[in-house]
């Protein structure tokens, strides 16, 4: 599974022209925002009274969301630049 993913990662990058390297970096950035799922799990498992876990969890989900949402919007803006001109 790990090997497969490494292979896929390398294949995907290999096909991308260098002019797309920066949007690619931005896209990859958004994708590792998937770490937010771990934050959601950790938050969801925290007990009601455990304030520290809740606060840290809240912070983690918030930061993860910034990564995901910010990442996809920035990538979209970069790629918008490549629209065919009228």
């Amino acid at each position: 599974m790990v090997i497969l993913m490494i292979f896929v990662g390398i294949e995907v990058i290999g096909r991308v022209p260098s002019v797309l390297h920066t949007p690619l970096m931005s896209g990859a950035n958004a994708i590792h925002g998937v770490v937010i799922i771990g934050a959601i799990i950790v938050m969801g498992k925290a007990e009601e009274g455990n304030l520290i876990a809740l606060i840290l969890g809240f912070l983690a989900v918030f930061l993860g969301t910034l990564n995901v949402v910010g990442g996809f919007v920035v990538t979209d803006r970069m790629l918008e630049m490549f629209k065919k001109k009228k």
């Binding site: 599974m1 790990v2 993913m5 490494i6 896929v8 990662g9 390398i10 995907v12 022209p17 260098s18 002019v19 797309l20 390297h21 920066t22 690619l24 970096m25 931005s26 896209g27 990859a28 950035n29 958004a30 994708i31 590792h32 925002g33 998937v34 770490v35 799922i37 771990g38 959601i40 799990i41 938050m43 969801g44 498992k45 925290a46 009601e48 840290l56 969890g57 809240f58 912070l59 983690a60 989900v61 918030f62 930061l63 969301t65 990564n67 995901v68 910010g70 990442g71 996809f72 919007v73 920035v74 990538t75 979209d76 803006r77 970069m78 790629l79 918008e80 630049m81 490549f82 629209k83």
Partner: protein
């Protein structure tokens, strides 16, 4: 879908939708020992606030500040991974006694913590460097200290996992601090022009940190995403280094810097010629072929739209105008492409370095807009130069070279550029936007 600029945008959208589905799926469907996730209010609140903040930040930022945004968001992901480790560690420590702590989980937690923290701290520093608030800072023996910091962090992590000492928590938080400091010192001495490579590397780090989370929860989505980015990010970093013809090691250890290294031993200096606006206008308007070499100066002056105007005006006069894009012109690969695309320049006019180098000998005038190191002949001729070996745009092959800069001050590499003193070259001083506007006015008058 990702290999073509036109369809890449859809690829991005697909990925975003996938992420959205994964998030909702986790919230509502995740189960551990029959127990679903709780604290929905907190979760949705954080998601909502994060989405609003992320969207606002991403939409408002200027195109030229994109790399630093990528770095900032990368740091957020790293911090998220590190926090997950902190919470899980606390949970682990408080719910079981010392003797029965699961060492595999501890190992994954420590890895996620260290990698996430280094990525977070490093990314914040990279963000600061790119927006100019943090200067390059290097001191003697820094690299030894960096290595010591790293080894110490890893040693403590190993101690925690293998020996399960009584003062577990103390060591844990020490590791957090050390990892953060290492992240800072790792990025601090690296020059601003090398930041994109560093950001790409930190990007892959965060990917690996995310994968650690995936291992911890045996979550396929996190594992997939994390490893994909870890691998892709590493390859991209290597590709970027190749474009600069420098090894990754060189980028991380060497620092360009105005004071730290002095330029090569070649003869530099001499006299340079200035060209008047009207002469520049004439030579460009009556040329058959003009090549524009954009650089960071164009981005700083936000002069890309005026540049496009000049291009159109010249083409209306029968001049063939193309752009020569060096892979590391500007502050990130593709920086110039994005800048010019924003100004509606057709991307067929943008030539990659190899193509451009073949066409310079047939070019009458080269107009260099705020580019410096990418056209510095020392890269070919002076082995002691910090940029030696980097492939450059061979503008000297053309008949005339006009260089637009604000002053004679050196560019990012901090070295003199012999091109400016060569007989075919003349200087056109001024801010790129103003210079182009004035030049455009002159050309229109002809």
């Amino acid at each position: 879908m990702l290999s073509n600029p036109a369809s890449a945008r859809n690829g991005n959208l697909v990925a975003a939708v996938g992420m959205f589905v994964a998030i909702l799926g986790t919230i509502f469907l995740y189960e551990e020992n029959g127990q679903k996730l709780g604290n929905y209010t907190w979760i949705f609140a954080a998601l909502f606030i994060g989405s609003v903040a992320g969207t606002l930040m991403a939409k408002r930022v200027q195109m030229t500040a994109m790399p630093e945004m990528v770095s900032l968001f990368n740091g957020m992901g790293g911090a998220c991974a590190a926090l997950i480790s902190v919470i899980e560690f606390r949970h682990l420590v408080h719910s079981s006694d010392a003797a029965s702590l699961d060492q595999t989980s501890l190992l994954i937690i420590m890895l996620g913590l260290i990698i996430g923290s280094v990525s977070f701290a490093g990314s914040v520093i990279a963000w600061g460097k790119l927006n100019g608030s943090i200067k390059d800072f290097a001191f003697k023996g820094q690299h030894i200290i960096n290595i010591i910091l790293l080894l110490l962090t890893l040693f403590i992590a190993a101690h925690i996992v293998i020996n399960l000492p009584i003062e577990l928590e103390l060591y844990f938080y020490a590791a957090v601090v050390l990892a953060l400091v290492y992240g800072i010192f790792f990025v601090l001495p690296i020059g601003g022009a090398d930041m994109p490579v560093v950001i790409s590397l930190l990007n892959s780090f965060t990917g690996v940190a995310a994968a650690c989370g995936g291992f911890l929860y045996d979550n396929k989505v996190m594992l997939t995403g994390g490893i994909l980015v870890g691998a892709a990010g590493t390859l991209l970093t290597i590709l970027m280094c190749k474009a600069m013809n420098r090894s990754l090691q060189n980028v991380l250890i060497g620092s360009f810097g105005g004071g730290a290294t002095t330029g090569g031993s070649a003869q530099t200096g001499g006299t340079y010629k200035e060209v008047t606006l009207s002469d520049a206008a004439v030579v460009m308007s009556y040329a058959n072929k003009v090549m524009i070499v954009p650089g960071y100066g164009l981005a700083v002056a936000q002069a890309q739209h005026v540049c496009h105007e000049l291009e159109k005006t010249l083409e209306a006069k029968g001049v063939e105008v193309k752009y020569a894009i060096h892979p590391v012109a500007g502050r990130m690969p593709g920086h110039m492409n994005v800048l010019l695309a924003e100004a509606d320049v057709s991307y067929e006019k943008l030539l990659e370095m190899e193509q451009a180098n073949e066409e310079f000998k047939n070019t009458d005038v080269v107009l260099i807009l705020g580019a410096n190191d990418v056209v510095n002949p020392a890269a070919k001729s002076d082995p002691s130069s910090p940029i030696y070996g980097m492939p450059i745009l061979e503008v000297e092959e053309a008949k005339h070279v006009i260089v637009n800069k604000r002053s004679m001050k050196p560019g990012y590499a901090g070295i003199e550029n012999q091109l400016f003193f060569q007989p075919k070259t003349s200087m056109l001083f001024g801010d790129a936007k103003k210079a182009l506007q004035d030049l455009l006015a002159e050309v229109r008058n002809l």
